[in-house]
């Protein structure tokens, strides 16, 4: 309560996110919130419950399960959905599973394309959602920095970065034709630090993997990969060792690098981040496959 009197910046960001969520719900018939289990999703969900209180959440959560999430993430997801009494829909691209797609066998790029992007599009089509909430922030990556808050998608879910609708003031043009849809990013103007400060201010639960702990890891291509289960084939000579690590960002486990850290509390995590010389997504292999790879993925429908 009291933080709102002193931290005006965070208070404005909170109010802005609530505004955007209400606008989306008022203007669209069939909204959904993309829930990826990470810290941004935790914040998004927390804000949504506030925006529509005392009414129930007027939309379901959707998790696109690639089947390669950390086990702790899935446990956290189910725990939170039950605790908050929200409707959670989980979609797995069964076709991809049948084809044996995995980050280990198929590489990061094919895995992401099939299990995340195609999986997402299947779910959006199946349930005919006309707007999807995402937790993406403009400070994450430079093509995201260019995206509108209400972002138009064609009937085939494509983003056209060269022809975005002008977005003046807080007046969002939400008109779409049948089959088209929009994505809305209520956390567009938040930074990574804002997210953590809000988590601290509001005491929001997050996946324990964000906090340092002794965990089994192997070092690969200068990335620390956590051995989360026995699906990760070890290379000759590779032997998992216990290291005190945490994650700055969470994705599919073999594609997300851990960082060595002693930060095992929220305060310590925030302190560590203030001094960090590297960006948040540095540990995300999928961003670096090729130059402009985030934009290319987004054009195909990725969040």
């Amino acid at each position: 309560m009291s933080w709102r009197k002193t931290n005006h910046r965070l208070r404005r960001l909170e109010a802005e996110a609530i505004y955007l969520m209400r606008e989306a719900v008022a203007e669209f018939a069939n909204p959904v919130m993309l829930y990826s289990i990470g810290k941004d999703s935790s914040v998004l969900l927390h804000l949504a419950l506030k925006a529509f209180h005392p009414a129930k959440l007027p939309f379901p959560l959707l998790h696109i399960d690639t089947t390669w999430k950390f086990r702790e993430m899935i446990a956290f997801r189910d725990r939170e959905a039950a605790r908050l009494g929200v409707e959670l829909r989980v979609h797995i691209n069964e076709d991809g599973v049948a084809r044996g797609i995995s980050p280990v066998a198929s590489g990061s790029s094919v895995h992401t394309q099939v299990m995340k992007t195609e999986g997402l599009l299947q779910a959006l089509d199946q349930w005919k959602f006309d707007i999807a909430f995402g937790g993406a922030r403009r400070d994450e990556e430079k093509s995201r920095a260019k995206e509108r808050i209400f972002s138009h998608r064609s009937a085939s879910h494509a983003w056209d970065p060269r022809n975005q609708r002008p977005e003046l003031w807080k007046l969002f043009n939400t008109r779409i034709k049948p089959g088209e849809s929009m994505r809305v990013f209520p956390l567009s103007n938040w930074t990574e630090l804002d997210v953590w400060e809000y988590i601290r201010a509001e005491n929001i639960p997050v996946v324990p993997l964000y906090f340092a702990k002794e965990r089994p890891v192997v070092e690969r291509d200068s990335m620390l990969v956590m051995v989360d289960d026995d699906r990760l084939p070890l290379l000759p000579g590779e032997k998992p060792k216990m290291m005190k690590v945490r994650f700055r960002t969470l994705g599919c486990y073999p594609l997300t690098g851990a960082i060595e850290s002693d930060a095992d509390t929220l305060d310590a995590v925030i302190e560590e981040m203030r001094g960090s010389a590297n960006s948040e997504r540095q540990g995300r292999l999928i961003d670096h496959d090729s130059s402009g790879s985030m934009e290319a993925k987004k054009r195909e429908g990725y969040f």
């Binding site: 931290n7 109010a15 209400r22 260019k146 043009n173 540095q282």
Partner: protein
């Protein structure tokens, strides 16, 4: 790595006490906007190591600065931008120093992408307008200054860039500054701060430069850290547009929205506009729970003491200081579409949380960007600014934009393409509408209709020239006449010989043509008649306008669907032949598009049916609707 004890850090919280300063960089292409922001972030140690490494790689590949780092590539995040070395769309960056936190919108300079610059400007408090010292003020510099002014930004930094390339010449700087201040005298800026800089080499960016000893003002960053962009929304009258009605359960009816100005406390009286009803605030639910009071920027949910009718788009306001309500006002428009403005056409206006039909009734003038002269104009094209009168389908609550940026701004949307075609700022209400009261009439519409043995209606036949509209309409009228139904026929060619003989066939004349016919048809239904209208009426927007004018209950759109080849083959008046030979311009189906109705009440396909069969389908429909 960061040097110990640096004054800023990558993730400094800045001063959270006050909200971030929101500013944009603008100016003509290649004047160094993206480079300036990149340089600023670099000097403040605000670039992550992995981004800096990527920047080095990208500079080698796409860079335009030889062996130096091309800081623009830090912001030009789209592939097309990097390939062409230009900024296409606005990029947002967030950074903090010890003294202030900032949101910067880096906007494109190309004229083609001016609307993306306006996007960045609409939410900013200050503009950094860049000028290339070698080129001075360009048309695009002036255009950006006008848009910045139009959107209500009152603080401008004139950054005279590339000062190194004119040998740090004070005279060049002074000349540009004076010229700009002269040009901007009427643009309403409260402060204009001119600073000589070199974005590429860092002169006067974070620290005063030794190369410009004659300049004694602040470096850019110092100015941004200290400038006061007075936010007086606290002391302005209370306004809260209703965004969403929260009906959590049968006992709870809350009105959710964001307070745009003023404050509200539990127990306060408020007015609901445009209805003007009064009520009292029973409780205020803030983002942290129930509160006693709330202020500008807060997202809240209000409950009321009485059961008044309030819906999305209404505005809560201070009882003693209410916004204007009306359906006609004067506003400046910034046109953002390749399709030109058509006065008379029905657009959708989004103002606050209200979306409704609106028409430009009169274009007063267009602004010449270079001289600020007011020129007579019939239309506005892409990137043009003009003053016009607008009329909305029903009354809305608003404030002049100069008094309140949130309740005085609107956008216009094209009904068919869904494109955002214009940004508007309201200047003042037009009193005309409220002064011309509708004459109250002794005999009512229902009374007139009561003498007939049928209900009034408009049958609107639309289709390509030569599709058979008039033929079918004539058969329908003959049948209705036989059934003792009072009818009247309005036919395109006949109306053009009389009422509309001053109109031609340009797009804007076609719009006016249909508007007048719609009004006449409306009067005829007031007289109780069944009106048969037979018009090509090629545009969806105008057919929609007539539908709204008449009312959906009494409007029956009949799409006479004949393939173009067949119309050309029939060519009853020989017009296609002449149009195809280039003798008639703007001929629908030949060089002007026909927009097919999306949801007509009746869809008549002429290919497989004769006119009599189709006419009887129309009659059957009228019977089914209990009109005859």
């Amino acid at each position: 790595m960061l040097a110990p004890g640096t004054s800023t850090s990558l993730q400094s919280a800045g001063t959270a006490v006050r909200p971030a300063l929101r500013f944009l960089t603008c100016g003509s292409v290649d004047d160094g906007k993206s480079t300036l922001i990149g340089r600023l972030l670099h000097e403040q140690n605000l670039i992550f190591d992995d981004h800096r490494a990527a920047l080095g790689r990208d500079s080698k590949r796409h860079g335009t600065t030889g062996d130096d780092i091309d800081y623009a590539l830090l912001l030009d995040g789209l592939e097309a931008e990097r390939e062409q070395g230009i900024t296409i769309d606005v990029a947002y960056r967030y950074f903090s120093t010890e003294r202030r936190s900032f949101v910067v919108a880096d906007t494109p300079g190309h004229e083609q992408y001016t609307r993306n610059m306006a996007t960045g400007a609409s939410n900013s408090d200050l503009a950094v307008l860049l000028v290339d010292a070698r080129k001075g003020l360009l048309s695009q510099t002036r255009r950006h200054a006008v848009i910045v002014s139009l959107l209500g930004i009152r603080h401008v930094v004139l950054a005279v860039n590339k000062i190194d390339l004119v040998d740090y010449d004070q005279t060049v700087f002074e000349t540009i500054s004076v010229n700009f201040k002269y040009f901007a005298a009427d643009l309403g800026f409260k402060t204009i701060t001119a600073i000589p800089i070199s974005a590429r080499h860092g002169d006067n960016i974070s620290t005063p430069s030794e190369n410009t000893p004659w300049y004694t003002g602040p470096a850019l960053l110092e100015h941004l850290e200290t400038v006061d962009v007075d936010d007086d929304r606290d002391t302005m009258p209370f306004r809260m547009p209703v965004q969403w009605v929260n009906r959590a359960n049968s006992d709870f009816r809350g009105f959710a929205g964001t307070i745009v100005s003023g404050g509200i406390a539990r127990g306060d009286d408020v007015a609901v506009l445009p209805s003007g009803r009064l009520t009292k605030v029973a409780s205020i639910l803030g983002s942290g729970g129930e509160v006693d009071s709330a202020g500008p920027g807060d997202a809240v949910t209000l409950t009321l003491a009485d059961e008044v009718d309030v819906s999305r788009g209404d505005v809560f306001a201070a009882v003693r200081d209410r916004p204007v309500t009306g359906d006609q006002f004067a506003a400046h428009l910034f046109w953002m579409s390749n399709e030109r403005l058509l006065p008379g056409r029905s657009y959708l206006m989004k103002i606050g949380h209200r979306t409704l039909a609106a028409t430009v009734t009169e274009l007063k003038h267009r602004l010449d960007i270079d001289t600020l002269a007011k020129l007579a104009a019939k239309t506005l094209g892409l990137n043009e600014v003009g003053l016009c009168n607008l009329s909305t389908a029903s009354a809305v609550a608003f404030d002049p934009y100069a008094e309140n940026r949130d309740t005085g701004a609107f956008i216009l949307i094209d009904r068919t393409s869904n494109e955002t075609v214009a940004a508007g700022t309201i200047d003042f209400a037009l009193r005309r509408a409220s002064n011309i009261h509708h004459q109250s009439q002794t005999i009512s519409r229902d009374a007139r209709s009561g003498l007939m043995r049928h209900k009034p209606a408009v049958l609107w036949f639309t289709g390509l020239p030569g599709s058979g509209k008039s033929t079918i309409a004539n058969l329908v009228e003959a049948e209705l006449h036989g059934r003792r139904v009072h009818t009247i026929m309005l036919d395109g060619d006949n109306v053009r010989h009389g009422l509309n003989r001053d109109l031609g066939f340009t797009e804007s004349d076609r719009v006016e043509n249909i508007r007048r016919i719609g009004e006449v048809a409306k009067l005829m239904t007031d007289a109780g008649l069944v009106v048969l209208c037979s018009f090509i009426s090629p545009f969806q927007a105008e057919r929609h306008m007539v539908r709204e004018l008449i009312g959906a209950d009494e409007f029956i759109e009949v799409f006479v669907d004949t393939p173009l080849e067949q119309c050309i083959a029939r060519d009853p008046k020989g017009l296609y032949r002449r149009a195809l030979a280039g003798e008639i311009k703007n001929f629908t189906g030949v060089d002007q598009a026909y927009e097919v109705p999306e949801h007509p009440e009746l869809h008549l396909q002429t290919g497989s049916n004769d006119a009599e069969t189709l006419a009887s389908k129309v009659i059957d429909d009228l019977v089914r609707r209990k009109i005859v």
